[in-house]
């Protein structure tokens, strides 16, 4: 299907779309469109966050929505991350569907009490009498000196918690469909977006649709090794797969799209075929999504691996600010290529 395809940039998309009538929009436009449609259709949806009515509109994802829907429904909030999370929870348990937006994932640690001790627990503690249809969007920064406190990828803070869902869409199609799915899921959902995805383009239908939560997707088929690429790393994995293909190595690329719940069935099926697994993640290694994937393979299908798993993660240190250090810090296509070769040599 055209919308299962993944394009690294506008040029790539336009080349592929030449002569077709399918519409292409960017990742940020996809989020904006999904949000705008829901605000239009459903009075219970509202957007809240620091700077959501700013001229830039949180990197374009909420741009000008306040002009269309008013400042009561697209509300700039005081600087109080934990407080506004609590306020959004209060509104959610009172029948609203708030979309709470943080410009950086790094602000989420301030909200952990409300998310972990309250949003994740209300439905359980009170026997399903209350649900918390809260969506929290947060963005991973990278580059421009984002550095240690404005660039973290922290899904594992939430994947450990029963009651939460964690989504990491990589394409414009999934960004739109998963945001809608999250708003109507009924459970509290954390969506972690990557800043570098915002200008990526892809086919996105104009109509409303949802992408099922908990279903991953095969971005590229291959028989020699499986690479699970999470969020932005799905693109790096695709580049690696193309380069490897030129050397005669066919890599299967899987984009899990949602990391809690994880589509382990899809990953295990692929590894059964290839026997080799590389996991490329946007964050650190210990107790990461990759660690969970490996543990689940050990628990459920320990005999399917022909070689040890190789994980491509950030080095065990905070993000440096200097462009020179930053360049050395982030793993990318070359690391994935080496990782795949390592699994094949074994």
């Amino acid at each position: 299907m055209p919308w299962t395809k993944i394009y690294s940039n506008k040029e790539e998309f336009e080349k592929a779309a030449a002569g077709s009538t399918l519409r292409g929009i960017t990742y940020k436009e996809a989020i904006l469109e999904a949000t705008s449609r829901m605000l239009e259709q459903d009075k219970s949806v509202f957007v809240i966050g620091e700077g959501v009515d700013d001229a830039g509109g949180v990197f374009g994802t909420t741009k000008n929505l306040h002009l269309k829907f008013g400042k009561d429904r697209v509300m700039d909030s005081p600087l109080a991350e934990n407080g506004i999370t609590g306020i959004a929870i209060g509104a959610a348990i009172s029948g609203m569907r708030p979309i709470l937006v943080h410009m950086r994932v790094d602000f989420l640690p301030l909200t952990l009490d409300q998310i972990i001790n309250h949003a994740a627990k209300w439905h359980y503690m009170f026997g399903g009498k209350l649900s918390v249809p809260l969506v929290v969007r947060a963005i991973i920064g990278r580059g421009w000196g984002s550095a240690a406190q404005h660039s973290q990828s922290l899904p594992s803070l939430f994947t450990n918690i029963p009651g939460l869902r964690v989504l990491m869409p990589a394409t414009p199609y999934d960004a739109k469909g998963l945001l809608r799915a999250a708003v109507y899921d009924g459970n509290p959902v954390i969506i972690i977006e990557h800043r570098w995805l915002y200008d990526h383009m892809g086919h996105v239908p104009e109509d409303d649709y949802t992408v099922p939560i908990g279903k991953g997707i095969v971005r590229r088929e291959g028989k020699d090794a499986t690479v699970v690429g999470i969020s932005y790393m799905a693109y790096e994995a695709m580049r690696a797969a193309e380069a490897l293909s030129k050397e005669g190595i066919e890599t299967e690329v899987i984009d899990p799209r949602t990391v809690k719940p994880l589509d382990m069935g899809l990953i295990i099926e692929s590894v059964k075929k290839t026997g080799r697994l590389v996991i490329a993640d946007t964050g650190w290694k210990e107790c990461s999504v990759g660690a969970e994937i490996v543990a689940r393979i050990m628990e459920e299908s320990c005999g399917i691996l022909k070689a040890p798993v190789v994980r491509v993660n950030l080095p065990e240190t905070p993000t440096p600010a200097s462009p020179a250090l930053e360049k050395a810090y982030y793993p990318g296509v070359d690391h994935i290529i080496s990782a795949v070769k390592k699994t094949i040599q074994k």
Binding site: K43, N82, G90, A91, G95, G127, G128, G214
Partner: protein
């Protein structure tokens, strides 16, 4: 350039009936004799519920319990001023609020016996479950108030919390937001002077908790929390103001926790018996009784009858609570999400919880 005063803050203190039971008729809210008797009877019922809960805990029939003794006026006076469909966000020490709202007492006993089903609020009650974490529900009330505003409902949300809770960031963040957006919310601080063993003087250097509202741009008032009429009037006025678009109010009910923090605490280790004795003389039921006697609404016989009826009610409710069957083990995973996850389905089998 001279230094100018650009803002002055004044904090009102409201008392309508003094410790001798004498009322200031100019401030007295328009309550009928029947309503006054209803308030008295509710206080007796709440106190009966409370004393029986303490005995049940000592007998090992319920778990840790937080007593409301001494705070009945602050709880029942405020709850009575809230309309039936106003949303209430209580803390764990608000059993009196539940009693005033007519919540099934057997469910409250189940809750304190450690059964989450006791807080699965039935239809028709506008109560949120008790918050055991301190102060974290203050922003929830603000959020609920904001939801009501967006829905166009003419309702308020009320958050109950203590003097300890007023030191939390959640308290300030919830109040600040409510001030900025004029959310229809009432912040009901039950200042009972002690947060477990931490005295009020260790919570804040401010003279009152009420004045904390000033920093958020709305009114805070301190009321005599042992005077049910003062509590009622302040809350009623705040509800009217909020429903008419006037935004939030902080009400500091100045009262006293006569019992230990909970049944797991021993307050004699950190406060003197003399201090407690002073407050025992000021407790709210004595005052209401004196006031009613002056009005010809109270006799010993009347109170005996009310107490007897309360005892009977509580006995029946305890029987009902104790006869309630234990929950199904599958409840352990049933309510984590709207539906079971694949992992949970597997675990239901693995742990043998599936029937």
């Amino acid at each position: 350039m001279p230094i100018n005063i650009i803002e002055k803050i004044e904090i009102k203190y409201l008392q309508i009936v003094n410790e001798k039971g004498e009322a200031d008729s100019s401030l007295m809210p328009p309550l009928s004799n029947d309503e006054i008797k209803k308030l008295f009877e509710t206080m007796i019922l709440a106190r009966t519920f409370n004393h029986r809960a303490l005995s049940l805990q000592r007998e090992g029939r319920i778990g840790t319990y937080a007593s409301i003794w001494g705070q009945e006026a602050s709880q029942i006076g405020s709850a009575y001023a809230l309309d039936k469909d106003d949303w209430i966000f209580p803390s764990f020490r608000e059993s009196g609020v539940f009693v005033e709202k007519g919540y099934p007492l057997w469910m409250l006993y189940r809750y304190w016996a450690g059964d989450e089903r006791g807080m699965q609020i039935p239809e028709g009650f506008y109560l949120f479950p008790m918050s055991v974490p301190v102060g974290t529900h203050v922003p929830h009330a603000t959020g609920a108030a904001w939801a009501m505003r967006l829905k166009g409902h003419r309702k308020v949300a009320a958050a109950y919390f203590g003097d300890g809770g007023s030191s939390k960031g959640d308290f300030y963040e919830g109040m600040n937001f409510a001030g900025v957006f004029k959310a229809p919310v009432i912040f009901l601080c039950q200042n009972n002077q002690w947060a477990i063993s931490v005295p009020r003087a260790r919570q804040t250097a401010a003279k009152t908790i009420a004045q904390k509202a000033a920093a958020c741009g709305f009114e805070g008032i301190q009321v005599d929390g042992n005077d049910i009429f003062a509590v009622y009037k302040a809350t009623k006025d705040a509800v009217e103001k909020a429903k008419n678009g006037g935004g939030p109010t902080l009400i500091e009910c100045f009262t006293y926790r006569l019992d230990d923090h909970t049944t797991s605490d021993d307050a004699s280790r950190y406060r003197t018996e003399e201090e407690v004795e002073v407050w025992k003389k000021k407790e709210p039921l004595i005052r209401l009784r004196l006031f009613m006697e002056k009005k010809g609404l109270w006799t010993k016989q009347y109170e005996d009858e009310v107490s007897k009826k309360a005892q009977e009610t509580v006995d029946k409710e305890i029987q009902k609570a104790e006869a309630f069957a234990a929950p199904d083990p599958a409840d352990i995973v049933r309510y984590t999400y709207g539906e079971l996850t694949p992992r949970q389905k597997r675990e239901l089998k693995e742990f043998g919880w599936e029937k």
